[in-house]
Symmetry: C2
Subunit: 313 residues, 2 copies
């Protein structure tokens, strides 16, 4: 369906429940908050399904919209959710989804109606277009959508950032979104523990094959000494491959109970999935992982041997 | 003067020499390259003054426009340059500046004509408006301007990022600027030397006053061991203040000839300028600096004493 049709569809209905996806990010949460806010501003009943995996970072944004237990939805909408497999645990009982608003090319058309535009960098941009047709976009809605756009584009640095994403950001800034505050909170501040663990990682970083591969090790000792928790090491596997000339970045994390968890990130032309498959893991071409019972130091040469083979091919 | 007047002024003249500022950044270089390109496309002679401090990162952008030694300019234009003090060494013989295009509120009106709009996040946005009135903005010009806007806003993350900056980026992307390639090169990849020096800095980072201040020291030894050059430590002064809870970030860089250069970055409510003024330096509320003949270790307690005084106030 088109943006206009979607707006009309919403205008003609009431009592909405909005679903966010598993391991919710800024795009699904921001989209849900803005959509719920806009529907309420249009005089409708709209709630968001409480997603158990929502982290502290996003909870304040969506909490005012959480559905009360007693809510009986008339229509169910999923935002930024490509397939039923991406539904959170709380949505397991849901059979029929009435509308999916999404930007994933892999959307499985699981909903009765689908507004999906894969040319958009974020689902938030689509929601922005839809709610602009329902009424005035408030400052709160604009902030939720700015969080959606900015987090899904890595603060406008990822390859998906395009003219439309910039244009949406421009209009959201004009609508009063506190872009500086959001940028500071999401992209320009790091915890002391994060800085400490990065210091340890950088100091121990090993370059192989003339710098084409970089291997980082995170030991339990480093985690302890830095005081880092899971939030602090979010996305840390992206660090080694962000270094100039590095085609494969390997992050080996020692596990508390022994063994380790390995994350591989690679540049186009080298498959992370293929590397990890050799160790019984998998994932995508650009990002994959596996777990192992071995200690980091004994695993390293084995990973290096696989990398050598792929580089020589 | 207004953007329209500036375009008219340029249209009526020929033989331009464009000056970039000392320690040139992406905004001054990108602005100069785009302006020179647009003037040439409009059939005029336009060159950029060779700025000896241009780093390897920016040289390819401006090199095609460097003035031959024989060039006798008819009109001199400075871009992104607030005052004569910011002129590079090569401009020392220049008496009269005909036009200044700038976005610094501190522009001293040193030029005969000035187009200065401090509401712009970058000078590149002003140049964009001006050259849009001179003719078609080519892909090369758009890329130079995207480098200007994106570097001066820290890839749209700094507080100066506003609706206008986003709108300019949107239009530049539409004009064919390779935003993904530029983002990857400027914001999403780091040299091995950068990573190494960050590792040293993080390991030695000192927190004062319960984490309200962080002091980083960059010694000559660290520079040598990491192999870092000026490009590698660009904007490194922003690191300490990016840590959660830090209101004042101080970066002390040991100089090769002895003494050191200090950069201070601070959160609103605490003036970097005031801190640096105590040591004979200055700058803005959020960012300032000074130089000292002292060694980092002897300077540190003196800076701490000033910080203590300001925090207690």
């Amino acid at each position: 369906m088109t943006v206009n049709e979607c707006a009309e569809w919403l205008r003609a209905r009431d009592n909405f429940l909005i679903i966010t996806h598993r391991r919710p990010d800024g795009d699904t949460i921001g989209s849900a908050a803005a959509l719920a806010g806009a529907l309420r501003a249009a005089g409708k009943m709209a709630h968001a399904l409480r997603n158990g995996e929502t982290t502290a970072r996003y909870l304040p944004l969506i909490e005012p919209f959480h559905a009360p237990d007693s809510f009986e939805p008339g229509h169910i909408i999923a935002v930024d959710t490509a397939s039923r497999e991406m539904f959170p645990g709380a949505a397991s009982g849901i059979e029929r989804v009435d509308l999916s608003i999404d930007h994933h090319p892999s959307n499985t058309l699981y909903a009765e109606e689908t507004l999906c535009d894969p040319s958009r960098a974020s689902c938030g941009e689509l929601v922005f277009d839809v709610i602009s047709r329902l009424g005035e976009v408030s400052r709160d809605m604009a902030e939720a959508l700015y969080i959606a756009v900015s987090t899904d584009t890595g603060c406008f640095s990822y390859d998906n950032t395009n003219a439309g994403a910039f244009l949406a950001a421009s209009r959201l800034a004009e609508l009063g979104a506190d872009t500086a505050g959001i940028n500071k909170r999401f992209f320009r501040s790091r915890s002391r523990s994060r800085v400490a663990i990065e210091g340890f990682i950088y100091s121990g970083l090993e370059f192989l094959f003339g710098g084409k591969a970089a291997v980082a090790v995170i030991t339990n000792e480093m985690m302890k000494r830095s005081g880092a928790d899971e939030d602090d090491i979010e996305n840390i596997a992206a660090l080694p491959v962000s270094i100039e000339g590095v085609l494969a970045g390997v992050t080996i994390r020692e596990m508390k109970g022994g063994g380790c968890k390995v994350s591989v990130r690679s540049s186009p032309g080298l498959s992370s999935n293929e590397i990890c498959a050799r160790f019984g893991g998998g994932g995508h071409a650009a990002a994959a992982g596996f777990t192992s019972d071995e200690a980091p130091e004994s695993l390293k040469p084995k990973i290096a041997a696989v990398l050598k083979e792929l580089f020589e091919r």
